[in-house]
Subunit: 143 residues, 2 copies
């Protein structure tokens, strides 16, 4: 898999991968950017969320569970000193699926985390999962 | 640092982080998507490229080295079986900087990789760097 990021001006880059979709990146305002795109570390979190989110909808579809909402919230702690890498990331899955078997929804999240999600396994941080189904927290593996 | 991805339809998600820039994500065509955004694993690569790319332009600026082009090409190998995580990523830095001291450009790349790049240190893959200055390969740490 290949991708490329190309400098535009100041701290602004444009990313392009095999899929052909451009993504704009920029540094945080404090270091003099013009805020023309998402922060690089945000893209890592979004990539993680999208990866596991796509897993979830694929697994729920296979389980024939109907859903109205699948949001994945990502809350990352970073090391205090440079390079300030991600150390812990909590993924909160907010899923609205009326009449769904809650155990099956939890199973879908575990399958993504443990077996399928390429991004989860490509990051070095410790990951935790919280599952909220129809507004009720039904699973939380944070120690 | 926080971000969120929200399911839209089929395999299409929209990501949003603290910076406020939306990023569209979608699954590869083969699994029935409508190709409405970048692939999640591409975002990991672009985040990595943007992170180190921003480092490079900041360091070159501090070194008072003028540049016309900074492209970072990312070539990732993935494990053959699910979860198909990234195992090796080669970053090729293509930098056009007429009259630049090549050793300083190499030093900028090493500083990013070894000290500053949050994304490099947040991924579990083995990273390698190739540096091309004004069309000439001047550094390659692949074993």
């Amino acid at each position: 898999m290949q991708a490329k990021v190309s400098w535009q001006q100041k701290m602004h880059f444009v990313g392009l991968g095999d899929s052909g979709h451009e993504v704009h990146l920029d540094a945080k305002k404090e270091i003099g950017d013009e805020d023309l795109g998402a922060r690089p570390m945000e893209l890592l979190l979004m990539g993680l969320g999208g990866c596991t989110g796509i897993d979830i909808v694929m697994i729920l579809d296979k389980m024939r569970i109907a859903y109205d909402r699948v949001d994945v919230l990502l809350d990352a702690k970073r090391a205090p000193n440079p390079p300030e890498k991600f150390t812990e990331i909590t993924l909160t899955y907010e899923i609205d699926a009326i009449d769904a078997d809650v155990d099956k929804v939890i199973r879908a999240v575990k399958l993504s985390q443990e077996k399928y999600c390429s991004a989860s396994h490509s990051l070095s941080a410790t990951l935790s999962a919280v599952v909220v189904v129809n507004g009720h927290k039904v699973y939380d593996d944070r120690s």
